[in-house]
Symmetry: C2
Subunit: 229 residues, 2 copies
Amino acid sequence: MESKFLPHIAYDSVIFGFSGEALKILIMEYHNTGMFALPGGFVYQDEDLNTAVKRGLRERTGLDDIYLEQFYTFGDLARFQPEVMERILRANEQDFAGWEWLMDRFISVSYYALINYRDVVPQPDALSDSCDWYPVKELPELILDHSKIVAKALETLRLNLDRKLIGGNLLPEQFTMQELQTVYEAILDTKLHRSAFQRKLLASDQLIRHEKRFTGKAHKAPYLYSFKR
Amino acid sequence: MESKFLPHIAYDSVIFGFSGEALKILIMEYHNTGMFALPGGFVYQDEDLNTAVKRGLRERTGLDDIYLEQFYTFGDLARFQPEVMERILRANEQDFAGWEWLMDRFISVSYYALINYRDVVPQPDALSDSCDWYPVKELPELILDHSKIVAKALETLRLNLDRKLIGGNLLPEQFTMQELQTVYEAILDTKLHRSAFQRKLLASDQLIRHEKRFTGKAHKAPYLYSFKR
DNA sequence: TATTATTGTAACATTGTGCTACAATAATAA
DNA sequence: TTATTATTGTAGCACAATGTTACAATAATA
């Protein structure tokens, strides 16, 4: 049986979310294997690559209109390990017929996505027990070169953070300056100076200031902000 | 006949050189078609993607150890135009047997390279009349989405230029500050301020100053510089 | 009404960059 | 030998961006 997918071509997505404390990504666990991997998928013969990735993200998160960026394509021979896919299929008691194409060599076009953690109920796929959030600092061991993919995603995200002011994609529509700063600190893994951060973001002319948020705490209430579109 | 290459996967390379006047890239012209394209190629079944690209660069330029960076993978359906490859093969009076795989859909992993213009005698491949330098501002019409690929390469190069100080790869081992500035101006397509440029590059602590270069002109002789390794 | 914690912003120091000016100098002309 | 010319290396000043400290404003509580 022929696959409807383009042979040899896969994508993997590093889906970032922010819990309020830590920067996390979505990781899938395959049935009965203890094997962890990035959510990924394949491209239909009659489908754009980017469309395929958006389709996969929708299936995994339920969200459309996600901030998404392609960052690297991994094509080393070392990522060709048919025994890994074989073990996953066996553990799923899958009939191998029709799945031979999965045992081929693949290159992985990799993307990272930034989403609002609270908007998502992660959905495992047919081969997986779970699709769950893991702090980037406490990831389980991942199959193939997926750890390298995560590292490169994080590196690219950090480089792009200032240039594109994309941190807000990890927060709800409205947020306080303190919350935004915490996101930046989690991504960059450094402390930032409150005053300079606030001044820089306000000077960037990309924020809209809304009403204050009263939390009931015994101190001045912070303004809420949102990004201009 | 089976191809020894990974089906559906191609690479294209945007090879930048600097003539002393203008920023140029290598473009191939296919026999008897008036069709122009980026140098590219395919990946052997038992070869790393990056290795394949380096192999292709060596064939086209004769150089090893080239500054090379992957910047994007193009996977739109719109780049699937079998009639283009068909026309190229026909013009070469090729027997189609054994070349059917070329008429398939491909995604293109794209790289840019920076090389020393003077070191290279560009080599056409079997299907091409010529492999020649064209100023990026005066490119012929290119097949498929190759113009888009060039545009994205240039955009990425500009973004990376400051961060990585890679401009020197377009020059001989030793160069004057004036030559380096001209390269930067050609890439960025803007005039830079001599004084600020010199101060910034010297402060970057990445240059070694050598002896002066005496050109016989009636003015102060400039120092030669090279980049630290 | 005083206290507490946090926020918004001013103020100053430091660094980076745009811009101008000028002395140094390699060859040529007088 | 000396003046001239074009270009180079660098200093100096203005202005912008950022690091750092300080402080007034304020929402709730004691």
